[in-house]
Structures are given as structure tokens and as C-alpha cells.
């Protein structure tokens, strides 16, 4: 009798634990959606799956680290290291080269009045307190004349590192990561330069996760390398001479490149 | 079952190997009593069902010094740490405290055959086929015993049907005890040599208890410590020795012979004498 109790007790405990585990994670998942954490979590779940070369810490660009892999999923708001380094010497203090002043790198426009996200979206604070969000020059050239664009509905909420909008181009389904938290107040198709007008949470743009000033050049330099190796079919040398100015529609000039692979490389999709 | 709870007994057997002529009447009576189906043509000595099985043993010597004896092997009704009962995953094997009989419940058997692996006497049999009888022969089945289906294990249960019948008779007469000899398994009744004695081992007056105590009695694989309730009796020392020896003794391989002959080719239910 006792043995029955012990044995079956154990067995049913195990079953209880198992079902509890599953139930709990289901419940938590639902919870995440309710408190709008889902998008962030998606990014967190995605980040570890990115190849190491895509996960470098921004402070590697500025040479503060020889090698460092980001462990905060590019959310510098939570990163002590970042805070410390920034406190040490604010990025704006960094000396800028002539070209950088004009905001041109490899013949690509990178205006310095904007903040750049690692996913190639920029955020541009407007006088009216809203922030316009658009694709930077590199991103724009990759998806030039997209086959389709899927913008969020006005009034919907986007989160830093969450999907802001979707662009489809030559079989590549690209989700652009949002550079900020906020409510979408307006959308447009890029002819006036931006895709979203966003009313940032907390009234103003939190720029901590975003790149600016001196960081941009080394970052773009790396991005170009990655782009080249992504474009180069296996075994071939990169086709774009260093410093060569990318054409307006890269896709067009690389008809046989696996565009999905290229885009996911640049837009941080595992 | 009877309304009256019967007086506990510990049924056992004593088999006189010096009287057993190996005629096989016990096997046959057993099969008839317990509705064992005839063999499929494909059945072999190792896939057939013989709750009671008479082995021939020999002293391994060569002619003319050779000696042989017959040993009927049935479920030995182990009384302690019953190997098969302990291992059955779903209590399809039960030892009846009132009789000491180890009973197999085919209706509950999963057919995992773990009990067969556990039984040192190979006294358990698996239904490898759907049971089948020649047309009309199923009308000769014993109504007191249910037939078994394919995929379950079965074995000797000291003719449970007969025990129930005897008990209800006794109950009808308001007795809670069975007279000695009122309940005997079919093999005991059928043995032409009266070589098998059956009864309550706990009743010191019973013949079986007397034989069990006898110095010339032994049990097979006694050292396993499972307290089998089948005793074998013989005055021939070599038989006792052969039934207890280490294996393989340095005996010629042809000892294989009688323990189970290959099936005569192409003879299924066909009578061997005409095969």
C-alpha cells in the first residue's frame, strides 16, 4: 500500500511539474503580449541566434574594445559598460573628419543630425516633439524600389528593437527594427524621406541605444565589408572595390545574389 | 465463488518419477481440461502450449549403461518471491493466499512476456497464434475454463475450474473445507500409473505432505529459494543427481535430443504415425 502511494505519488508529481511548466510558459507568453513586451522578447529571443560578427559591441567601432560581443541585445539602456564609457567621454566630443562633417561615407549620405540604429533605421527628432523614422542610405539602396511595404497602422505602438515595418524585395522579407519606443502618429512612403512619424514614449527620443557621430563611419565600414562578403558568391573576391560608391539599386546590379541572405545579413535577421 | 470463505490450504504435488512411464496422459488430460487448442502446423516444440510437459532425461552414459527417466514439468507454484508474480507490470499474476496457487489472468495480461523470462522452469506459455479448433471440435471445450486469446501468457493453475466446482459443491453442502481428494487437477486424475499425489502440504496427515518430507524427495532448482510446491520422488540416485547437476556437464551434445524434437516436416495436426 505504502509503496503504491510513494510510487504513484512520485509519478503524478512529475506529471504535475511537467504540465505546470508548460502551462506557466503559456501563461507568461500571454502576459508578455498583454504588457507589450512581446516585440522586445522576440528580439531577445532572436539576438543569440545572430552570428557573432553581427553582435559586436558598438564600442569596438570606436576602438575602446579590441573584441566585445554585446550581451544586452543592442539595448544600451540596460548596459552599465556603455553608461560608464559614455560618461567617460561623450560621443559628441569625438573629433570628426571633414567628410563626416558633410556626413558622407563611401559616397553614402549619413546626415549627422540623425541617430542610427544597428538595423539601419534612423531616428530624426522633429521640432514638434515627434520623431521621423526612415531607412539609412545603405538600407535604402538595398531595398530600393521595394516590391512591397507593410507599414504599421497609425496609432499602433512600436518598441526599440521590435519590428517597426516590413519591406519585401526580391524574395527577401525584411523587418526593419524600430530605433525607439513610441506611438505611430503618421506614415508615408519614403518620397519625403521617412516612413514613420512617431510620438516617442516619455515625450522625447531616448538616443542611448542609437549610434551617432564618430561611431557611424567605422560601423558603416564594417557593414560594407559584411555587405561585400554577403554579395560575393562563395569563393569569389568582393566585387565592390573598397571605397567604391554603391550604385543606387544594389539589387539590380547583383541579379544572381541571394537577396534574402544579403538583406538578413544587413538587417540582422537570423 | 462460494459464499463461505474456504479454509486456507497450501496445495502441492508429489510426483513419483519411478512410476512415471512417460505416456503423456497427464499432458493430454491437462490440455483437454484447460481448453488448450491443437497446434498450428507451423508450431514448434518451442512455440506450442503445454502447461504440463514431460521431459525425458538421461544419465548421458552410452549404451548399454544409459539410463533414462521422465520428469513432468508444470508450473511449480513458487511460494516465496514468486519470480513471475513479482515482475508482472500489471498484476496479471496473483497468488491466492487461500490456496497458495499462483494464478495467471489472461484477461489482464499485456503480453509483455517478462514473466516468461523470469520463470526458471519455462512453465509459462505464450499464445503466439489465435486459438483455433478443427470445425466442430470447439463444441468439446470444457465449459468451466475460458479460452484465451492471442498475445497473452498462460500457465498451469492446478485446474482452477475444478477448485471452483469442488468449492461450490462443498458450499452447497454447507462445508467450508474440502475433503481430501475432492479436488484434484486433471493430470493427477488421469495418470495411469497413479504417480502424481496432490493435496494440502500444510496438512501433516496428507499423503503429499508425507512424501514432501520423505528423504528421497527433492524439488527442482530448490536453491533459487522460491519454495516451489512440486516435489519429485525417486529412489534412483542418478535421477536426483541429474535433476540437480551443474550445466553443461561434460555430456555429449546428443543430450539435446529428447528435450524437444524438431517438428516432423509438413506434419501439423496430422498424426505422427502417418507423417
Amino acid at each position: 500500500m505504502l509503496s503504491h502511494v510513494i510510487f504513484l505519488g512520485l509519478f503524478y508529481t512529475v506529471l504535475a511539474v511537467l504540465s505546470a511548466t508548460v502551462a506557466l510558459s503559456l501563461f507568461r507568453a500571454a502576459q508578455d503580449f498583454r504588457v507589450r513586451r512581446a516585440e522586445a522578447i522576440c528580439w531577445q529571443a532572436t539576438f543569440p541566434d545572430l552570428p557573432a560578427r553581427e553582435r559586436v559591441c558598438r564600442h569596438e567601432f570606436t576602438g575602446e574594445f579590441a573584441h566585445r560581443t554585446c550581451d544586452k541585445a543592442f539595448d544600451c539602456r540596460e548596459c552599465q559598460t556603455h553608461a560608464a564609457l559614455v560618461a567617460e567621454r561623450p560621443p559628441d566630443a569625438a573629433p570628426l573628419s571633414r567628410e563626416a562633417h558633410q556626413g558622407e561615407i563611401f559616397g553614402l549620405e549619413f546626415p549627422l543630425d540623425r541617430y542610427y540604429h544597428r538595423g539601419h533605421a534612423w531616428a530624426h527628432p522633429q521640432p514638434d516633439g515627434t520623431v521621423t523614422v526612415g531607412l539609412d542610405a545603405l538600407g535604402a539602396r538595398l531595398v530600393a524600389e521595394p516590391d512591397a511595404i507593410e507599414l504599421p497602422a497609425v496609432g499602433s505602438h512600436i518598441q526599440t528593437n521590435g519590428a517597426a515595418w516590413h519591406v519585401r524585395k526580391r524574395g527577401a522579407d525584411v523587418r526593419i527594427l524600430s530605433p525607439l519606443d513610441g506611438e505611430v502618429v503618421g506614415t508615408s512612403d519614403s518620397q519625403n524621406g521617412w516612413y514613420l512619424k512617431v510620438k516617442p514614449d516619455g515625450g522625447q527620443l531616448d538616443a542611448r541605444p542609437l549610434l551617432r557621430g564618430a561611431e557611424i563611419r567605422p560601423w558603416i565600414a564594417r557593414e560594407m565589408e559584411r555587405l561585400q562578403s554577403a554579395l560575393a558568391p562563395a569563393g569569389q573576391a568582393p566585387t565592390m572595390a573598397d571605397g567604391g560608391v554603391p550604385v543606387d539599386d544594389i539589387a539590380a546590379s547583383y541579379p544572381d545574389a541571394d537577396w534574402d541572405a544579403v538583406c538578413s545579413e544587413i538587417f540582422l535577421q537570423p | 465463488m462460494t459464499a463461505i470463505t474456504p479454509k486456507p490450504a497450501r496445495y502441492g504435488m508429489a510426483i513419483d518419477l519411478d512410476r512415471c512411464t512417460g505416456c503423456g496422459a497427464c499432458m493430454i488430460a491437462c490440455a483437454v481440461e484447460n481448453n488448450v487448442p491443437p497446434a498450428r502446423p507451423e508450431a514448434t516444440p518451442r512455440t506450442g502450449i503445454t502447461w504440463m510437459r514431460v521431459y525425458q532425461i538421461s544419465n548421458g552414459a552410452s549404451f548399454p549403461d544409459t539410463r533414462a527417466a521422465f520428469i513432468p514439468i508444470l508450473c511449480q507454484q513458487c511460494g516465496k518471491d514468486t519470480p513471475c508474480a513479482a515482475v508482472c507490470p500489471q498484476e496479471a499474476v496473483e497468488t491466492d493466499p487461500a490456496t497458495g496457487i499462483v494464478d495467471q489472468m489472461p484477461q489482464r495480461c499485456l503480453g509483455c512476456r517478462y514473466c516468461m523470462a523470469a520463470c526458471p522452469y519455462h512453465a509459462r506459455y505464450f499464445n503466439w497464434w489465435d486459438p483455433q479448433w478443427p470445425a466442430g471440435m470447439e463444441k468439446t471445450l470444457n465449459p468451466d475454463v475460458a479460452t484465451r486469446m492471442r498475445g497473452v501468457v498462460e500457465k498451469c493453475n492446478f485446474c482452477h475450474g475444478r477448485l471452483h466446482a469442488a468449492r461450490s459443491r462443498a458450499a452447497a453442502e454447507g462445508r467450508r473445507e474440502l475433503h481430501p481428494g475432492e479436488y484434484v487437477p486433471a493430470c493427477v486424475e488421469a495418470c495411469p500409473a497413479a504417480a502424481i499425489v496432490f493435496g494440502d502440504l500444510d496438512d501433516p496427515a496428507s499423503e503429499v505432505a508425507r512424501l514432501a518430507r520423505d528423504g528421497q524427495s527433492f524439488r527442482i532448482l530448490e536453491k533459487l529459494g522460491t519454495e516451489p510446491k512440486i516435489y519429485y520422488h525417486t529412489a534412483r540416485p542418478w535421477v536426483r543427481q541429474a535433476a540437480a547437476q551443474q550445466r553443461p556437464a561434460s555430456e555429449p551434445p546428443e543430450r539435446r535430443l529428447r528435450a524437444g524434437l524438431p517438428a516432423p516436416q509438413g506434419s501439423g495436426q496430422k498424426d505422427p504415425s502417418h507423417a
Binding site: 511537467l18 511548466t21 508578455d32 541572405a261 | 519470480p83 507490470p89 540437480a244
Partner: protein
């Protein structure tokens, strides 16, 4: 079609063309179909289709079950090391380990369902369990652990490139992953138990002095030996499969230091196993077996099961690989590493063979013959079906899921 195929594959890794893949799976599919036919015969016509009999109540299937479950132990033990003992390096193989574990266990359970005479009654064990039977323990643990493996499999599937586009899947996966240590813990507990029970299965056979062992509490010594041996073999098997997969797919899948690490773990566990196994064998020869009326020498007097089998089990397939795996220099050379791992796996298989087959082959009745047994084609087919099923499931998982996270980095 090829488009869908390529969109299901993880990004940034190269996989064979649809055509190559088709050519690869076709033969396995054929094998699976053939095997299922054999299994079907056994289910429809009954077990008379096998060569098992009243003496050889267990045959090829039980042997295979015990072996694959021992090899599948890699799943639980790697999980245990990764989530409980926090051995981060093993993250590189954990997914593969889980899939292999799932394959082994589901395969074993499938084979068992064909093996029992009345498959429709499988649930009887849960209905009126005999808690004193090792088989009950096995049934309960395995069914539970299979569930665990299934749950552990889910996140890997949800991370598939297409599925991950569904946010709710990704979020659920994330939350589930956070609780993975719990599952790993439960899994470890269960595995320890049923690996043990599988050993107990034979250790408790007091009617079979060849298998019977004394033990502690309700568990015979084989209970503990099986746990240890399984834990030792699991990593070795993961090692082998990983190497095999990277050879077949022609890519590096894990960093070079991972395989030797697995080898080292296996070696470290082998040593105590061999030690205890030897002690256990000596005790058995010296007292356990004789006490039950069987001098141990006689077991090895039956051809072909001579004393060589003991030597092979303990020295050739135990001590030898253990020594190889414990020497860094040998461990680092793939040839040594792989041959050692192979030996370990063979050793486990041999050990399980001895307990399942030799135990039944040896006569217990003094006048009973030694029995031999060869599986029928239906039995073999059913076994092959399990193999094919495993290969297929693994192939698809490897093609469409991320089994080796490091592959992406290593591939460029």
C-alpha cells in the same frame, strides 16, 4: 517547391540542394515503408511472425530498446551538464542531443508497442500498476521522459525560420526556454530512474541466476550500473553522431574543442563504471551465483558465449576506451577519439546484449538444452523501420532546424 524548402532552412547555413536531399531520404523512406510492412504483419497476424518463442520470450526488439535507450541517454546527461551543472560549451550540441534522445525514446516505445502481445492494453499498466515490478517503473518513467523530450523538442522546432516569424511562437519558446532547467531536472530524475530500472529489469530475475544480482534497498546492483554506463555512453554517442553528421553534410558543426570535451566526459564516467562493474562481477561469481546453485563457470562453458565476452565487455570495450579518452593527447586526435567513442558504444550494446539475449539462451533446468535464436525478417524489418525513422527525423530536423548553433559562425 524548392523555394519553400529554402525558406524553411535556417539562414546563413548551407544545405544540400532539394535534389540531393531527396536522393538521400528516398532510400530511407523505402526502408521505413518496408519496416512498417513487417511491423504491420506482426500486429495483424500476431507475434508468430517473429522467431521469438516460449524460451526466447524476448528477442531483437528488447535488445535494441535497451541499447538505443542507453545511447539516447546523451540527451538527459548533456542537458543535466548544461542546465544543472552549467557546462556552457555543451550548448553547441544540446539541440542535437535532444533530437537524438527523442528519436531513441520514441523509436523504442514504438518497437515496444509491436513487441507486446496485446498493444491495445498498453494503458493497463497505468490502470492497475504492480509497483513492485521494474517494468512498471520503466513504463512510467519512459512515458514521462518521452513527454519531457517532446517538450524540449518544441522550442527547437519553433525556432524554425518560418515559424519564428509568428511572434507568439517565439515568445512562448522564449518563456519555455527560461524554464528549461526545470525540465532538465525532471528529465534527469526520470532518466536516472528508468535507465536504472532497465538494469533492474534483469537484476531482479531471481529465476535467472545469470542475471540476478544482490543490491541496495529494492534495487539490484545492475540498476546503478546501467545508470552509470548509460551516462558514460550517451556523450560518446552524441560525439559519434555529431562527427558523422558533419562528415555527411560536409561542414564543421561545432568548435573543435567540443568533441574532445564530450569524449573526456565519457571517459571520466567510464572509469567508475568499469570499477564497479568489475567488483559487481567478482561478487556475483564469488557468492551471488553459487548461492543459488549455479557455479558461474558454467555460464561461459556454453559456446559461443565463452569467457571472452566478459573480457570484451570490461577490458576491450571499457577500460581501453576509458584510458584513451582520459589522455589529452590521444583525445585530441580525431582517429583515437572516434575509435574510443565507438568502442564505448559497442561496449554498451554488448552489455545490453549479454543481459537480454545471453540470459535467455542459458538453460536453467538441468535437463534443458541451450537455446539459440535468430530474428525473423519481420523482426529485423521492424528494427530497421526504427532506424529509418530516426535517420529521417534527424535529417529533416538538421535541414530545417538549428541543431548546431555554432554552425553559422563556423560556416564563414
Amino acid at each position: 517547391m524548392p523555394k519553400v524548402d529554402s525558406q524553411l532552412m535556417p539562414r546563413g547555413v548551407r544545405r544540400s540542394t532539394p535534389r540531393q536531399f531527396l536522393l538521400w531520404i528516398l532510400p530511407w523512406c523505402a526502408l521505413l515503408a518496408f519496416g512498417l510492412y513487417g511491423a504491420g504483419l506482426c500486429l495483424v497476424k500476431g507475434l508468430n511472425q517473429t522467431n521469438m518463442d516460449n524460451r526466447f520470450a524476448f528477442g531483437l526488439w528488447i535488445f535494441v530498446d535497451l541499447t538505443v535507450i542507453a545511447l539516447g541517454a546523451g540527451a538527459f546527461f548533456t542537458g543535466f551538464l548544461l542546465y544543472i551543472l552549467k557546462k556552457r560549451e555543451l550548448k553547441a550540441v544540446i539541440n542535437s542531443a535532444v533530437v537524438i534522445g527523442f528519436i531513441c525514446y520514441s523509436g523504442a516505445v514504438a518497437a515496444l508497442l509491436v513487441d507486446v502481445g496485446q498493444p491495445a492494453r498498453f494503458w493497463f499498466t497505468f490502470w492497475h500498476p504492480n509497483v513492485h515490478s521494474m517494468l512498471t517503473e520503466v513504463t512510467f518513467c519512459i512515458s514521462c521522459y518521452l513527454t519531457v523530450l517532446f517538450i524540449e523538442y518544441i522550442p527547437i522546432v519553433l525556432k524554425n525560420r518560418k515559424l519564428r516569424q509568428v511572434p507568439s511562437f517565439l515568445v512562448f519558446e522564449f518563456e519555455l526556454h527560461k524554464l528549461m532547467p526545470v525540465l532538465a531536472g525532471v528529465g534527469t530524475f526520470l532518466s536516472f530512474f528508468h535507465q536504472g530500472s532497465l538494469g533492474g529489469l534483469y537484476g531482479v530475475l531471481r529465476g535467472r541466476p545469470f542475471a540476478f544480482r544482490e543490491g541496495f534497498a529494492i534495487w539490484p546492483s545492475t540498476f546503478f550500473l546501467f545508470i552509470l554506463s548509460a551516462a558514460a555512453a550517451g556523450p560518446a554517442f552524441i560525439l559519434l553522431t555529431t562527427w558523422l553528421v558533419s562528415k555527411i553534410s560536409g561542414k564543421p558543426l561545432v568548435r573543435p574543442e567540443v568533441l574532445p570535451l564530450l569524449g573526456r566526459i565519457s571517459g571520466i564516467l567510464l572509469v567508475p563504471y568499469i570499477l564497479l562493474k568489475s567488483i559487481d562481477t567478482l561478487v556475483w561469481i564469488d557468492s551471488t551465483s553459487p548461492a543459488r546453485g549455479f557455479a558461474a563457470y558454467q555460464y561461459y562453458a556454453w559456446k559461443p558465449f565463452g569467457p571472452w565476452i566478459l573480457f570484451a565487455e570490461i577490458v576491450a570495450f571499457g577500460l581501453l576506451p576509458a584510458l584513451i579518452l582520459l589522455r589529452r593527447r590521444l583525445r585530441e586526435s580525431p582517429a583515437w577519439l572516434l575509435s574510443a567513442a565507438t568502442l564505448v558504444c559497442l561496449g554498451i550494446a554488448l552489455n545490453r546484449f549479454v543481459f537480454t539475449i545471453q540470459t535467455l539462451a542459458l538453460p536453467t533446468l538441468p535437463f534443458d538444452p541451450f537455446m539459440s535464436y535468430l530474428p525473423s525478417w519481420q523482426e529485423t524489418a521492424t528494427f530497421l523501420a526504427v532506424v529509418a525513422y530516426g535517420v529521417l527525423l534527424y535529417s529533416f530536423s538538421f535541414r530545417y532546424l538549428t541543431l548546431f548553433p555554432q554552425e553559422k559562425d563556423l560556416s564563414c
